[in-house]
């Protein structure tokens, strides 16, 4: 809990909202418990901190902490939150509401100040806000608000959004939330808890997913992915539209627009490739089947004679089954993960004798020795652990190693909510595939083509131009010059 320097962070708005999960429920007897379950389902979107806020109709209460959802919330904690929601000072017997958030961060420092949901009280009332995404104009907004006399207590985009809403509120202001959202540039899927309703909103580009659902009991749900609906037995109703604000309240579901959808949209293709759960439906398609088809396409683009297809566990499994099916090469399990290693201390200090990668993965020598193996993975970011794994396969006797990646090379930073390494550390930045192949020490290397990827992910209702592929192509849907300049060391 040592905080990183405060000022440096406010000068360089780090994308704290990146790779996060949000959840909201209105009209349930146990909103905290449902939110807890929803956050468990969304844990893959962020493991650094988590939080839940609830309302009793008159005041908000929250609990946030660093760590995994299952460690932060125990029975007493959930009961206290649900108890607050059910004290119903203002509800007169109606059911309660709550929101939750998982946050991912790659920075070493823990910042409980930045944990969400964030609560603010202003002339716009009391609002708890949780945010998945990243703004490219956050620093400008903060500076403008500071010049107007506002004070900031954290470095998060989320606080800036709350203060912007307050700035827009006041006499004669019919919709300060919409006014504020219109000023945001970048990716945001938001859930906002008021004392009498929940508002959820999605940026006009639709970068991050956000869906609406409903339980059998009539509780209204919003969540980053459909898997959070499944876990609580809620049915999928629809996606929140780009540029739309949806209100969940005792009056049911209401919709308004703060902006028209961007033309074209900018749905993050990396949600399909890597980030979302395979069991979720994202941008209208099931992630698992998309990944299988990416694998099939990959096989067609890069066939090579081989003895077996090995998935990199667990990230390459979906694509590997598709690859195997399309290529006719047998699918086998040859790389066995050690699920118990966790974050053990041994790695740095004993690299020579006990290679860290050996602790995480074991090779089944019988499957590998003397064989030509195709290894399928979903992406390569820095390449350091990939190289170690390839060496391990070679040491176990692989005759040929053919590495197949189910997306194109990642060469550009993301400013919209995925925190890759710094551009200088991306193995594919400024390198040709052949150079990367040599660095990774494999016999052949093939990345799925951008065309191939887009052929797979497009549908009749969602043409390929509606996907953001900036990390592969460098073509950003909106101007990111200031964001890029502000980012120390080109950090996105």
């Amino acid at each position: 809990m040592i905080y990183t320097p405060f000022n440096a962070l406010s000068q360089t708005p780090r994308p704290w909202g990146e790779k996060c999960g949000v959840f909201a429920v209105w009209g349930a007897a146990d909103p905290a418990r449902l939110t807890f379950a929803g956050l468990l389902a969304l844990q893959h979107r962020g493991q650094e901190s988590a939080g839940i806020a609830v309302t009793d109709g008159r005041s908000l209460m929250r609990h946030v902490d660093m760590g995994l959802v299952s460690h932060i919330f125990d029975h007493d904690c959930i009961r206290t939150l649900d108890g607050h929601a059910n004290s119903r000072a203002g509800f007169a017997g109606r059911l309660g509401g709550g929101i939750g958030h998982n946050r991912y961060s790659t920075t070493g420092s823990s910042r409980v100040e930045n944990a969400q949901p964030f609560i603010g009280r202003s002339r716009a009332g009391e609002i708890a806000l949780a945010h998945n995404g990243n703004l490219v104009n956050a620093l400008e907004l903060r500076r403008r608000l500071e010049d107007a006399g506002h004070t900031f207590h954290s470095s998060s985009d989320t606080e800036a959004i709350l203060q912007l809403i307050a700035a827009h509120a006041g006499p004669g202001s019919p919709d300060p939330v919409a006014d504020a959202l219109r000023e945001l540039r970048g990716a945001f899927s938001l859930v906002m808890l008021h004392n009498d309703r929940i508002e959820v909103a999605r940026d006009p580009w639709g970068w991050r997913p956000l869906v609406i659902g409903e339980t059998e009991d009539g509780a209204l749900i919003a969540a980053s992915e459909t898997i959070a609906l499944d876990i609580i037995g809620a049915r999928f109703v629809r996606e929140v539209e780009p540029g739309e604000i949806v209100t969940l309240s005792d009056a049911g579901v209401e919709s308004r627009r703060f902006a028209p959808p961007a033309e074209p949209r900018a749905h993050c293709v990396f949600e399909h490739v890597y980030f979302a759960s395979p069991a979720s439906k994202v941008f209208g398609q099931t992630v698992q089947t998309v990944r299988e088809r990416l694998g099939e396409r990959l096989a067609k683009e890069s066939h090579v004679p081989a003895d077996c297809v090995l998935p990199m566990p667990d990230s390459g499994r979906s694509a590997a089954t598709g690859y195997a099916r399309a290529s006719g090469v047998p699918y086998r399990e040859g790389i066995i993960p050690n699920r118990y290693v966790g974050r053990t201390f041994i790695k740095p200090s004993t690299e020579e004798r006990v290679q860290a990668v050996r602790l995480k993965l074991n090779i089944v020598e019988d499957v590998v020795r003397g064989n030509r193996v195709v290894v399928v993975d979903d992406s390569v970011v820095r390449g350091t652990t990939t190289r170690a794994k390839m060496d391990q396969l070679r040491a176990a006797g692989a005759k040929e190693i053919h590495l197949r990646i189910s997306c194109p090379p990642i060469r550009h930073p993301c400013f919209f909510g995925v925190d890759f390494a710094e551009p200088t550390q991306l193995i594919a930045a400024g390198r040709e595939v052949e150079q990367i192949r040599k660095l990774l020490g494999v016999d052949t290397l093939h990345y799925l083509s951008l065309e191939g990827m887009l052929d797979v992910v497009q549908t009749a209702s969602l043409p390929r131009e509606h996907y953001c592929t900036a990390c592969y192509s460098g073509k950003y849907p909106i101007d990111v010059a200031r964001a890029a300049a502000g980012a120390v060391s080109g950090k996105c």
Copy 2:
């Protein structure tokens, strides 16, 4: 870390600053380490949370947490903070600065949001603020700021002060800090860390103590009590004057006024009676000797033939030695505290068999049996544990129990930084001494008279009218009507 309802708290500004300790140092190679030592010395002023903020000349860093100073800060944590202070991005080799805070609260809920120092960034720059005291117009200030578009993220007075400074800052504003402090009504001893200086300030009434010191190495110190100077080997320079802002910087000590001293002042007499460390010098006098003289005066006012004087450990020790000396009755130790009990769970569930008070105190029967004992304590607030102790003495065979209290009956709430129980729970509220005597089950009960107390605490340079005695007399130095109205259940 379950947070109490957010809204309820902002409607009812609880005196979060009450019974706190503050510390500041400028110009030291190890500001975090010195602040840590200073906070250890001031731990008696607050045990709920603690925090330290430091600057490297360009940005602030802080570490705060719930709990005791010795648990919150370990070697690595202090080293990181000192490392930041010494990275000296902006210092060019000069020495660093830091501030710290201990907070006391009687509420059961822990609110890490309210932990201090509080950091805010605005057009007034980056400021870390720590606060001892309580404002009576905090709610008005917050409402006014909210109406102007400000957003609050906590329920603390401290955040309101930071935002007020930001509101006063801006083009053409020569001294926003002084402008802001002039608007505060109530008790405050503040330390503010900027990136290039520390400012410390004290309200015009001088409710809470605040002193300036200097180490042999030339580091400049500010602290709630002189004991924090002693612990780091610093010499006492002077008190901060009521209405004064003192700046500690590389330029040395500078002073300005934001307001004239109030006439009369309102120094809290309870600092002498109970709150400050006996080893500190407060309002110009050593607390220990004041307490001895309170005991002497008490003996003169209430002499009774007795076999021994027993101090209530540890609170009554100083007064009891004075009482014994003046009365000629032998001083003996007959009530032995158990230092290891801590907060053990056994109390609520086994009241019948194992009385909780027995776990905390043991009576030396040989000292008590058949004897007329005078028990001296510094104050009685609720009276519940006092009654249990008196019963214990009786059960151990005390022939007569004469309870002597070294201050008058506490009958009124404090709005200036001491969090007594609710007025309805003060045993002396609306009761005559004889009624209290019966409730406590003692043979005689005597409280020191208000006159007697003031005779003892006044000095040539500090006449009696400069003390606030509101909790005894009900005469408040400033209008507290709105504060009292805002306080749910009359809670101060």
Copy 3:
């Protein structure tokens, strides 16, 4: 750390040694560090407690605790143990030795008294002992030793073995270890650390695996599975023979017999089916490839027209690939595990709304809906979670569910180191397959035949009669009448 009743346990020797992993190293500069890595690799064999003991040539030191290896041992702890081993009071510059243990237990109570390695000092010298297996005559041995004046401080078999060795030691006793081991009936793979050597031993039936390896630096290793050799880069030398004691010392590897190998052996077939790591080589064969062939055989025995083969993650993956290959039905991932759920509290209290199984597994509806699915798993013990998973598949729209299990029905308790549920709770105990099928709610259910399983696991050098199949067949290799009688509720 509440201990279960002491006496009850010593009357009913629970199989504390069951499902454990052991590791030993002699002649390394960092024996604790290597043992730590070995225990990480063997963590799947036991997650309840772990421990490491080392020698400096003159005295033993150990560290044991409840929990996972990666939580119990930190850098300081390993350094302290390695420091002890390298203080070399008695080594005069030679290299150190150590042993380690992982323990599994299905009982709710944690018993740090029973954590291993166990250390005893007697006329046999100082010995640290770690044990994988279970004795059927432990209670008789304890009673006999108690009658002779011995005192027991735990309920573990391991303490009984240590005391038995001491009882056999004494003047004129050339090999008390061999004498003691000859008296043990049941399964045991042991590692024993003396101050000048390590002895490892395996019961005459060879129930549990135990292998010898060697690092490049010449350190000698013993471990439950070859995966522990791989993780530290050691090469496999050979298995420890049934009835053999192998000594690892500065003199190298020495061998002696305490008993001839049993005819036939009784290698636990369940190691291949379920227990060992797929990356290990056990009883001469790689587990992963054995499981693939079990799946192939299963496909041949139970073909059914279907749209896809779904592995139950992670237990059914190996067999499912074999099944898919042999059947020609496409292999797909349709059941997605949630790796973050862990042991969360929500399960018991909200079964109605949030089914626990939903928290652990998510179904990919696109893969399942309208399809005939073959689900492959390695075993069914109680059947409760299997039923819930089948319901989940049905709810996701599976048209037909064909459950395939890659071993025969488990109908009998194990007395040799695998702690199944109580016989009454085994779903297959006393039930025909058709009855089980109805209980599980699937369209067809097929268990691999005993014949089919033995066809797969047998080799030229290891005929089928050398496998223990008691849990399937009820034919125990040795008399277990007394063990069964002593076991409360038939607990093995």
Copy 4:
């Protein structure tokens, strides 16, 4: 939880029983809860580990851990233990029994193996044993038992006693407990829990106290000090006699002798001087009043003109009041302890700037400056912290410092249960008082004379020759040659 070398400890039996507290109760509905309260009261006798064992009439259960009683036992833990005691498998409605233990140790390493009560099962039945004291022939006993085939799993004397009882048990052995106790040489106050009774015993010399009490409900109690009776409202019945075994059971209190009382006894005078609680009655006298009289005698032996008497908190308080009374010099509080410092990290690393002693104690300068002060403390062991405190007084302006110690110089190791520093580190070992005075930097130094001390502690029924004064006089009541030889570095 790193264990120190096992072997080294068994060769050199460290006095693990030293400075401990024991408690026992029979015939209570909540034996664990009463034992918990008793251990809280006895916490001053040992803070390293604690444990409670209970019986349900058929089996024992225990809970032990490192740390303070209030941290080790929570509500659930006590309830589980009481629940076990009340399950009454064998009681048929009778009330339960339990014992408890606090252990003190000065060694840095924590050894949960040695935590008491210790449980053993043998032909003598199941016994839980807790022990206060130290044996001088433990190593001989262990070696003899090892030669007879016994195995030891810890280095504690307690395990040796349990095994000795087992060795004496067997056919034709009417009283193995008495037989075993007769073989022990040294100090022991024992409580033993059987499934149908409790036995408590005290060595023939009566080194350590041990008393019997009874609650109003008729529960029978044994405890190290009377303060443990007071805390649960039990009345004092009598002391356990030296050489006596007292049985507490459903049949009430029964007594037998295992040996005649030693002539003379060897009651530890240091219990009165330092170790016991001032509120306890020990060896027939109240500790508090004994200490007051030691202070009076000290005043008579060493009068010096002075301005005030300052107690060293908290150890010197009792003697200081006696000193002040007898000398007529005013008693004042001038040294103020900081109760919150605890074990903070800052000490070693910043000795130069922030002296550790300043963190622990603050001097009231007003009381000290320009004055001749008498400082009274109960003992000086190493003298290092005393020197620092004297320097602090001098720095605060003391004109003269007269140090008065209420016992003679400690010059010899204790082998009977008090773990002083090593003899070489005792400041008084081999030094004259004048040399010590110079080392401590005081104007005068006076230790109470041995004669004076014995005059105070002797009574009509307990003449002075019945006290052990070995640490002062070097005259050991029994031969300690072998113990002294076995002790590495002369460690007792």
